[in-house]
């Protein structure tokens, strides 16, 4: 468990926390949208540009060698961090691209690209793709597109009233027609941690591929993708203390080598003539064009940072923060939290509706106290509709979130309804 001294030390690593907003110290509770960066990450990027910047896997010169080393060391570190082999991790610009690469790769396979070995991914009329009602748009719309392109049917696992997946119909929704089961590990709105094992078991029973949106788990929980037995997974650097512009697609090697690439171009081919091109095996086949190299170096620094404290420790801190937020919110009148019961495990992402006050007005009042939260549908419109809402306010924590942060947030939240003349 992180000690208060640890957290002090951590806070000192994040330059932005020195910032004042509207005269108050910044209380950043929007890490669910994007995390802040410790100086170790910022410095790593800086150092890369100052000393080692070059195109990778191309040049014979010393800078290119240094850059390539940095690039591949980043891959090894990130892969190890999520319990994967290095060649199972492909770089993307964000998790959204990674999820699209899987969904559109399957659509390409269905259109006949990628040859015989891609046929295992073929989708068509009579097949089904299953998602959940709690998905971020990034793990929903690409599957709508894949369904539209291939004629497969899109189905979903519904939500329960208490912010969890309702799996009572799991066996009928995920059935023999199901070719893909795509679901989030952790909900970015509810904080709910989904039962990956149970879902993977069912998918395997019917021979469906599993695609895990690990955007909100990798930054907050220990994640071992091999242990989770999923076929594909996606996550984003910027949510795990890393830079913007970098994400990752994980896939079992055998699958990645067979999946047709979506984005094609340089550095992912073996031979090209005017009429055709042969693609390299994974991970390169998914890495067309110049990659976000400095960003990989920054992400490497971020996983080193997280590993230094240890994801078990950080998750314990996160759970404590979650409890403090959930319990505190429960004590403020006329607030409806959506999410799992207080005694269920969740990450510290807590969303709620303040009766009579629009989420943007809630956020505005909090911002005037220096408290940064997220308001809106958080890219999960179907989830909000399920709970009869169009928007919520979300507080989401990070490694540097203190009890004082939680308390400042709760105190300000208690003032919101009074501010708008509601008692």
């Amino acid at each position: 468990m992180l000690s208060p001294a640890d957290i002090d030390r951590i806070r000192n690593d994040f330059p932005i926390l020195d910032r004042e907003v509207g005269g108050a110290r910044l209380v950043y509770l929007d890490s669910g949208a994007t995390a802040q960066k410790p100086h170790q990450v910022i410095d790593a990027i800086d150092e890369f540009y100052q000393r080692r910047n070059a195109a990778v896997h191309r040049g014979a010169h010393q800078l290119a060698v240094d850059a390539t080393d940095a690039f591949e060391a980043g891959r090894e570190a990130v892969a190890a961090f999520v319990g994967a082999a290095a060649d199972e991790v492909c770089w993307t610009k964000n998790a959204t691209e990674a999820l699209n690469v899987v969904a559109l790769g399957m659509a390409h396979a269905s259109a006949g690209l990628g040859g015989a070995e891609a046929q295992r991914f073929r989708l068509g009329p009579g097949d089904s793709i299953v998602v959940t009602e709690m998905e971020h748009h990034a793990n929903l719309i690409p599957w709508q597109q894949a369904a539209a392109l291939t004629g497969a049917q899109l189905r979903w696992l519904p939500l329960s009233d208490d912010g969890q997946l309702d799996l009572s119909e799991l066996d009928t929704i995920v059935d023999e027609t199901t070719k893909v089961l795509a679901f989030t590990h952790v909900s970015n709105v509810l904080g709910t941690i989904n039962p990956v094992d149970r879902l993977v078991d069912r998918a395997r029973a019917v021979g469906a591929y599993t695609v895990l949106d690990a955007c909100q788990s990798v930054p907050h929980l220990p994640v071992d993708l091999h242990d989770l037995r999923v076929d594909f997974a996606a996550f984003s650097g910027h949510k795990m203390l890393g830079p913007t512009g970098i994400g990752a697609l994980y896939g079992r090697s055998e699958l990645l080598d067979a999946l047709p690439p979506v984005i094609t171009g340089g550095s992912m081919i073996t031979t090209v003539d005017m009429e055709s091109a042969a693609f390299m095996p994974a991970p390169q086949r998914f890495e067309a064009g110049t990659q976000p190299i400095a960003e990989i170096v920054g992400l490497h620094a971020a996983v080193d940072y997280l590993s230094y404290y240890g994801m078990e420790e950080l998750a314990a801190h996160e759970a404590q923060t979650a409890s403090r937020l959930i319990d505190g919110i429960a004590q403020i009148p006329a607030i409806r939290r959506i999410g799992p019961p207080a005694d269920e495990a969740s990450i510290a992402a807590v969303s709620f509706d303040v009766d009579g006050v629009h989420a943007h007005d809630v956020g505005q009042v909090l911002d005037s106290r220096g408290i940064a939260v997220r308001v809106g549908h958080h890219c999960a419109q179907p989830l909000h509709r399920r709970y009869g809402l169009t928007a919520t306010t979300r507080a989401s924590a990070s490694v540097f979130t203190t009890e004082a942060d939680c308390d400042a947030f709760l105190a300000a939240l208690a003032e919101v309804r009074p501010f708008f003349g509601l008692s």
């Binding site: 629009h358 989420a359 007005d361 809106g376 928007a391 003349g421």
Partner: protein
């Protein structure tokens, strides 16, 4: 009664507008009393009727979505060229700024000719895009001057403009309908 009369449901605002000047926090400037008051009263927030069957009133309607938040408004514009008068009714859901702005507009419109509306609208638009540097011309803007503080909050400008955009569009439709006659 002529259809437009049914559109007038609230009297002139008595909203308090003491200017506390620089001593007001940005937040207080944003959420002026007038705004909080209108956000509750919601003048013109009435069941939508669609085109009136009779009378010489021209009708237009517009649906607008604020892409940042997904909030929506539907506005109906009624224009009686003979009287030179505009009216608006609306339905929608959104933050207090957007609701207040629709309410203020609906109330003000009853007093405005199309030409005057164009002036007011231009002034309001300019004020919103002034990034906190503009000063509201109360003469011109009336209650809408209370939105001055919004211009400091770029994320909320669309809130304040939503109903105005919708009305402008609905009025264009109404005029188009007129030309179609």
């Amino acid at each position: 009664m002529p259809s437009w009369q049914r559109w007038q449901r609230c009297g002139p605002s008595s909203g308090c507008r003491e200017t506390e000047g620089d001593t007001m926090s940005d937040l207080q400037q944003l959420y002026q009393e007038v705004i909080l008051d209108h956000a509750k009263r919601r003048c013109g927030n009435l069941p939508l009727t669609g085109a009136p069957e009779s009378g010489d009133a021209l009708f237009g309607s517009s649906h607008q979505v604020n892409p940042t938040c997904g909030d929506e408004i539907t506005v109906e514009a009624l224009y009686t060229p003979a009287a030179g008068r505009l009216h608006m009714r609306w339905d929608g859901a959104g933050c207090s700024i957007s609701m207040a702005s629709a309410s203020v507009l609906a109330e003000m419109l009853d007093e405005l000719t199309p030409d005057r509306f164009a002036e007011v609208e231009a002034g309001f638009h300019e004020l919103m895009h002034s990034r906190g540097r503009g000063h509201a011309d109360e003469e011109l803007l009336g209650d809408a001057a209370a939105f001055e503080g919004v211009s400091k909050f770029p994320a909320r400008i669309k809130c304040a403009l939503l109903a105005w955009m919708a009305f402008k569009d609905a009025f264009v439709q109404a005029q188009a309908a007129a030309e179609g006659r």
